[in-house]
């Protein structure tokens, strides 16, 4: 559905996107992750024809955005929520887009209803909250009934209710056969909705894989509970295994449970709990990029 091949974008001496390549399949939710300044927005803007690549190719349905015959009926994009004329009503904003794209204006009322903005449709966008603007952006993206949604940091500034609405909406869109490509630096959000992730850092691809695989990569600590926790920690450290006491009689040990269990058995130390904690996407990200949390 999306193909990015050897994409490079320079701004003067700065390389925003550096020989980036990946493909996004149909019918899935793919998270596009990276710290601020990693090149996510630049990549999306090139995909959408709003920025021109220095070299390489970015295509949707095997065509550059400018070559799409009915762009709004192929891809819906949610960019910054501030991209509205404050004096124009929400409905008129959508009427303008529908008219330009040759979409029947009756569709405007349908999408306003879908994003639950009908009551505020005649109000000027200048008076909308950030969440309402974001819903209007989603409505604009849905105008042409596209099969692909591209969203750039859609959860930015949304309250918890708005985030939940967005998450449910995207899940339903994907369940109905749509494809979603969503950039975010809120890794926990992406972990909840994405099937796979593309992680970039300093414009380069770090990894592109399933969320489950990525999470499994994370070196999660092993939680150990023992009446002789202090003694066990000393023995672990003696053989080079790191760990720390996190509560009375409880340790977080950076080693697999089987190794800890074997050592405890050899030492005759009773264990009351030995649990491998699942790694988080954040931990996987930090491990992959070797950088601060995005």
């Amino acid at each position: 559905m999306i193909e990015v091949a050897n994409l490079t974008k320079r701004f003067g001496r700065t390389i925003a996107v550096d020989d980036l390549s990946f493909t996004i399949p149909r019918g899935r939710i793919t998270g596009f992750l990276g710290p601020n300044g990693a090149g996510k927005t630049t990549t999306l803007r090139i995909l959408l024809g709003l920025a021109l690549p220095t070299s390489g190719r970015a295509a949707i349905a095997e065509r550059r955005y400018r070559e799409l015959e009915s762009p709004l009926e192929t891809v819906g994009a949610v960019l910054e929520a501030s991209n509205y004329h404050p004096a124009r009503s929400g409905r008129n904003q959508l009427r303008v887009l529908a008219t330009a794209a040759g979409i029947p204006t009756a569709r405007v009322n349908e999408v306003l209803n879908e994003v639950e903005l009908t009551a505020a449709a005649t109000r000027r966008v200048g008076g909308y909250s950030l969440g309402m603007r974001q819903r209007l952006s989603v409505a604009a993206a849905l105008l042409g009934r596209p099969e692909l949604l591209i969203l750039d940091e859609p959860a930015n500034g949304l309250d918890p209710e708005g985030i939940r609405w967005l998450r449910n909406f995207l899940r339903k869109f994907a369940d109905d056969g749509g494809t979603v490509f969503v950039s975010s630096h809120v890794l926990a959000e992406v972990a909840q909705i994405a099937d796979e992730v593309v992680i970039i850092h300093r414009g380069k691809l770090v990894v592109h894989e399933e969320v489950a695989q990525l999470t499994a990569r994370a070196t999660g600590a092993t939680r150990v509970r023992s009446p002789r926790a202090g003694e066990l920690l000393e023995r672990l450290r003696a053989i080079g295994i790191e760990g720390e006491a996190v509560a009375e009689g409880q340790l977080a040990v950076h080693a697999p449970p089987d190794r800890i269990g074997d050592l405890a058995a050899e030492s005759g130390i009773a264990l009351h709990e030995l649990v491998a904690e699942t790694g988080t996407l954040e931990e996987a990200f930090l491990e992959l990029t070797g950088d601060s949390a995005p």
Binding site: Y65, R66, N83, L97, A100, A101, G102
Partner: protein, 248 residues
């Protein structure tokens, strides 16, 4: 055609045209009232003076050049250009639609200016008890105002596409009209070919020119040349540059 309709819808779904209309109304009330209210009856009876009163409708051309520029730059100022290019990815096509919409809106604005001028002139002349002789010669500047406003709007679209910054475009146009044209008038040998002078020559619509003013058709061709060059350069810059999220 659908893209032109969308561009007109953009203009009509904000208060942009309302403010331009009110601005033109205020200026026309002021200049016509001052002129007809203060001039003597003999002068006001002269056909040349009556034609000059009608020429005030051409002030719409000043607003038209600003309108053309703002129809382009407002999209960049508010960031709506992103949505516009998503709906119409061929940038030259969108700019062409803006050009058509600006020309149509400018003609509408000028028509409003002509109607206001006519009503004000009739009221003032009747109030002063002087007959207003409206014949073909006197009314020709109305056609000049319509044509000049259309050409000025096209020039404005070109300037807007080149600069893409609303404040800069508006300030530059006003500085050029108020100062630039006056400087050219003083230091230049062919000031009549300056854009402001050429638009003014279209408004007065005299078939034959003189040393200070082009004739109607040379003036039209000069304005068309300015508009074509500016729009072509603007289209080139717009099509070869990244779209910024929003610039003012």
């Amino acid at each position: 055609m659908k893209v032109v309709r969308a561009e007109l819808l953009k203009a009509f779904t904000t208060r942009l045209l309302l403010w331009y209309g009110l601005g033109l109304l205020a200026v026309l009330v002021l200049v016509i009232s001052v002129h007809v209210g203060s001039d003597d009856a003999t002068s006001l009876s002269a056909p040349d003076t009556q034609r000059m009163i009608v020429e005030y409708a051409g002030l719409a051309a000043v607003l038209a050049v600003l309108l053309g520029a703002v129809l382009v730059t407002a999209e960049y100022a508010h960031g709506t250009i992103n949505q516009s290019f998503l709906a119409v990815p061929t940038r030259e096509r969108l700019l062409g639609a803006k050009l058509a919409a600006a020309v149509l809106a400018a003609i509408g604005l000028a028509a409003f200016g002509c109607a206001v001028t006519l009503v004000l002139a009739e009221l003032w002349y009747e109030g002063r008890g002087i007959p207003l002789e409206l014949g073909g010669g006197t009314l020709t500047p109305f056609l000049g105002a319509l044509a000049a406003s259309a050409l000025a709007a096209a020039i404005g679209v070109g300037v807007g596409a080149i600069l893409r910054r609303q404040t800069l475009a508006v300030v530059l146009i006003l500085v050029w009209l108020l100062i630039g044209e006056a400087i050219i008038n003083v230091v230049g040998d062919d000031a009549s070919f300056a854009p402001g002078h050429a638009v003014a020559a279209v408004i007065v619509a005299h078939r034959d020119g003189n040393a200070a003013r082009l004739g109607l058709w040379p003036a039209v061709i000069t304005c068309l040349t300015y508009a074509a060059l500016l729009v072509a350069v603007g289209a080139l810059l717009v099509s070869r540059s990244d779209v910024e999220s929003s610039v003012s």
